[in-house]
Amino acid sequence: MPDVASLPGALGVSPGLSFGSRLRGYLRAIGAVIWKDLAAELRSRELLGGMLVFALLVILIFNFALELDVRTRQTVTSGVLWATFAFAGTLGLNRSMAIEKDRGCLDGLLLAPVDRSALYFGKMLGNLTFMLIVEAIVLPTYSVLYNTNLFNPGLVLVILLGSIGYVVVGTLLSAMAVQARTRDVLLPILLFPVILPVLIAAVKASNGYLQGLEAADILPWLNLLIVFDVIFTAAAFMVFEYVVDE
């Protein structure tokens, strides 16, 4: 039987351990959760597949609802893209948490001697990866379908910042929604009013880059995204344990 105290525990365990080794344990737990989510997804492709098909359908609906001819397209492209990401995102968030809840795996995670915030960051970064993969496929598809060039480093930055804001709040709220009776209906209702500023800022900033506006006009929106990301990461970090602990 190995001496329990010799196991390099995660953050919050074995107060005798140095900060460095506790931090390593914390990061290792985050890494393990991300690895687990990606490995399972790589095999089933249920979550990404669902998100992608749904995203393409949303674009298709927008195409006919807005009659995306050349002129309208210029002004509404960023709006269409972010609406697509927001709708497809709820699908992914719901699924990602349902996997934890359905076989009682959430209990398995909670039994591990790791800080709850490590579980949050693991799930959050996994969800972020899924979001970015979907976005990386939707963008070129949109470019091809409408023969517009969406490759713009500024746009990539906006998408990254916007997706972080979306997922930071989305992961926290999906952990609550999945424990409610009305879970599938509940997530978008909880999420959309709270992340409205992210969507507004992301749409405006994306539009700015696509229209070739000056950096000074876009900067306020980028700042807003960064402020949102920082505030809500901190808030979610603090309250997540109350969402999963009984």
Partner: protein, 233 residues
């Protein structure tokens, strides 16, 4: 049943009296605004209701935080009671604003930062109530409510900021005087007195209703506990 505390019964009468006085001040004491006419009188209760709505949601966020830290059910009850009142007062705020906007802006609705923020805030707290209804375990319900109350309240100022980056036509009566805003006006001393009294009246009304609502909740809990005891025998 424990009778209502003396102070609460006194508050009922005080609130009623204050409300009558406020109505008098708003309808007769305050002068008629020159440009907009009688419809401007809606302003006094409109702003007061908005203020109480924001106050109620702040109370929810603060009580939610205290509940998470201490785990005392009573804080969770206050948080829930306050949300329900906040939703009602914010609705009053939005509807009166709309009534005022029709003659002043020539439209019932416009996508102005304050309007949208108030509406988004309303939606957040309707979602809050739906979240609570979707959860059976009372402790978890209170915890999730507290978490969402805090997250929602944090997002309101950011929402306002983000929409404010668009052009605004909402008048800013208090604080600054932007001459470009449509429907802006200067308050005469009598208007100011009526306005201040309305604010005070609505705040007292809020406190009274909150007290009643919290008391109702603790009575419900009490009945629940008695039922349990009866079943256990």
């Amino acid at each position: 049943m424990t009778p209502a505390p003396k102070l609460l019964r006194a508050l009922n009468w005080i609130t009623g009296a204050m409300f009558l006085v406020a109505c008098y001040l708003v309808l007769f004491y305050a002068p008629r605004e020159a440009v907009m006419g009688e419809v401007q009188r809606v302003f006094y209760f409109h702003v007061s209701a908005g203020w109480v709505g924001a106050l109620a949601f702040l109370t929810t966020a603060v009580c939610g935080g205290v509940y998470l830290a201490r785990g005392d059910r009573r804080w969770g009850n206050v948080a829930l009671a306050s949300v329900e009142l906040g939703v009602v007062f914010t609705l009053v705020n939005i509807v009166t604003g709309s009534i005022w906007a029709r003659p002043a802006w020539n439209t019932w609705w416009t996508w102005d930062p304050r309007l949208v923020t108030a509406t988004v805030m309303e939606l957040i707290y309707i979602a809050y109530i739906m979240l609570r209804q979707g959860i059976e375990d009372p402790d978890r319900r209170a915890r999730f409510g507290s978490v969402y109350g805090i997250i929602g309240f944090l997002s309101v100022p950011v929402t306002f900021l983000s929409i404010r980056l668009f052009r605004t036509i909402h008048p800013v009566v208090i604080g600054s005087n932007d001459p470009t805003a449509e429907g802006a006006f200067d308050m005469t001393p009598r208007m100011l007195q009526a306005f201040m009294f309305s604010l005070l009246t609505f705040t007292v009304l809020y406190v009274t209703l909150l007290w009643h609502r919290v008391r109702l909740q603790s009575l419900t809990d009490h009945v629940e506990r008695l039922k349990m005891r009866l079943l256990a025998q």
